[in-house]
Symmetry: C2
Subunit: 250 residues, 2 copies
Amino acid sequence: MASRTALKKQISCGKCPLRDLDCFRKMSPTEVDFMSEFKSGEFNAQAGATLLVEGSNSPHLYTVLEGWGFRYKSLPDGRRQILNFILPGDLIGLQGSLLNEMAHSIETLSDMVLCVFERDGLYNLFKSSPSLGYDITWLAAREEQMLDEHLLSVGRRTALERAAYLISFLSQRARRVGHLSEDQPLIPFTQTHVSDTLGLSLVHTNKTLKKLQERKLIRWSGKSCHVLDEKKLMEIAGWDGLPETPRPFL
Amino acid sequence: MASRTALKKQISCGKCPLRDLDCFRKMSPTEVDFMSEFKSGEFNAQAGATLLVEGSNSPHLYTVLEGWGFRYKSLPDGRRQILNFILPGDLIGLQGSLLNEMAHSIETLSDMVLCVFERDGLYNLFKSSPSLGYDITWLAAREEQMLDEHLLSVGRRTALERAAYLISFLSQRARRVGHLSEDQPLIPFTQTHVSDTLGLSLVHTNKTLKKLQERKLIRWSGKSCHVLDEKKLMEIAGWDGLPETPRPFL
DNA sequence: CGCAGGATTGATATCAATCAATAACGGTGG
DNA sequence: CCACCGTTATTGATTGATATCAATCCTGCG
């Protein structure tokens, strides 16, 4: 269950600690002011909570401030496909805001802190601040790019390559937003999550991860995965890594 | 080879015949004027031409006026994954315009007519016409939604379900933009294209399509596929179909 | 201690890839 | 008009990858 702590502005956008990370593009003071105005609150969700449900029509848009989550879709009989993972700086709920209905669900993997916006204000954002509108489009294009790569992975990579791609991908993303600190292992997810991402069965996923472990590229402990050799994983996957360009952060 | 016939404005946007289709949202006169201004020409490409190449940095954005195409990515050793198909009304090259580098290639399946825009004018569009900026974002979100469904398909559907999904998906899309007329069968593509979309081998794709044919749901003739029973295909795939909402058209 | 959820493992069953031909078709040059 | 050719579609046989089934083993937790 997601626990609604307080829907008020707990941090002013200007002081948002994330804003200082290298991976994010700097915002002008005007833009920061606008975002502070646009922000309608913060939302704290517990690990395992469902944030948005396929078919629903949420009145909110969120920017992730902290924590891990994932987007997924299901078939009528329950088979599930994880579409992408969600990390700090990601904008979520855009599809729902624009197309009027979520076609996927979102769940948290860890406790999460989200910045809340009213979807009704979205059009006004485009009107008042073209640069922020542009940024949102930028983020949408970036999500599309990640999905393209995932699709290539699930469609054409072998099981081992897929696993290697997934883990190096998440490792890079997490590192950039400071979510791979010394104390934190890596990803707070189970092998079931991995299998639903890779489009493989749980058993086969386990055997595949084991191979990566034998080669000392990763280490699985408890409910998370340590990345020991990102480079080698990328090599196995035939993946070039994420672009270095700083991205917008709302 | 793509043949550049003439890069001038051959049709004013206001008279664009596509604009009258039900599937597209109507544009205000101001918006139409803006687009006419933004439009820098038309481009005619022949079937089989490569429009954009992974890694390149095209100065253009396009809206499709006519014809079929597809986006794809490849692995270093040549394995190819088709990401999505391109039909009239689609905006292409947005990733390249925003993120500065194409991460996928685009090829035509039939002769194609494209409306050309300068990517440098994109930011100005957001500034001058927030509603058009919003529309572009809308289109990006729609593309994302299609990719989500493809990913679910490739990751979790069986071969038969995937094929059924793909064909009903294309059938719906084509019908809406009037590309399934009496005289035209359906899609001008080969089974190799199908296999690269579904993430299956060519042989297995052939056997799978054959099953759909035996059940009288499709008919393969020459280099194209007739859809005989879209409803049944959707049922097999467990797919609900595209949303009915009219979409923006630039 | 006893559970429950997650990770592992070995055996077996399927699905899909690969290999190897052959057939069908459209286009070309003679 | 016909022989020739390249591309695409089709098929059967075989191999290989992945799914499924069925246990067992952990580990954190009440």
